[in-house]
């Protein structure tokens, strides 16, 4: 065991901590998203502690809708000596706009779904053959139509 491996984490360890699959971490390396420090004589991967929060960042960003390629872009711009600003700024601005529109649609649909829950199934489920099968879909359709700006 070399000194340089002090404080580093093996792939299985960081996988467990971050709740990520080992195979996913290897995949991130393959696509150039997350390189391990990897000093072992054998080809074992070793990761820094800071990689834990970077992996958390990847997950959040992914959840919000960034692709791994976009995340990679941000990172690679940071790591190159060049100014990362123009590209990242652009990416950020476009993502904000996109997310805003999604939230708008989402709120609309949330309202419709809530209305559906209240109207259609207040206490017990509505019975079939009562002329009340479910009004939700049409309501949603109406809002959907109106919201097509």
């Amino acid at each position: 065991m070399e000194n340089s491996l002090k404080g580093l984490l093996k792939i299985g360890e960081i996988a467990k901590i971050t709740g990520t699959a080992v195979s996913a971490l290897r995949y991130y390396e393959e696509i150039g998203l997350l390189k391990p420090t990897c000093k072992s004589g054998a080809k074992y991967r070793y990761y820094k502690k800071e990689d834990i929060s970077f992996i958390a960042f990847i997950k959040k960003a992914q959840n919000i809708g960034f692709s791994l390629d976009e995340i990679k872009l941000i990172l690679s711009e940071r790591n190159s000596g060049k100014s990362p600003c123009p590209k990242v700024r652009d990416l950020a601005q476009r993502k904000i706009t996109e997310l805003r529109e999604k939230v708008k649609d989402l709120k609309l649909m949330e309202r419709d779904l809530k209305k559906y829950i209240l109207n259609c199934c207040p206490e017990e489920d509505s019975k079939p053959d009562e002329g009340n099968v479910c009004k939700m879909i049409d309501k949603v359709k109406i809002s959907t139509k109106l919201s097509q700006s």
Copy 2:
């Protein structure tokens, strides 16, 4: 031309109106999401006018994060004689929760991205080798860490 085809739309027509690819509409039929009325002696697909708003609904729902399978579930429950309520209600409730969390994360990241734009590139792009390469990533990391509830 049969009488029964009056007012119906051919696949290319409804595709154009809704901004959907013909191949996508055929795919929707294949997975049982959207059946055409399809009365032609040849196997031409014919769609009702109401399908236009249904296709719009599909697109909105998809954009928000429903899978085609989920959309199909909602629809098939509606079309069966059975009460659609329990399943759809459950689906709706879970989606609302999920969307709420996404909006929270999204707002956090939006804040970070905005800060980045203001701090890092107020007028002109920051130059490299000025000790100011880009502070955004670390800031995002911090919020990301904090927001891990």
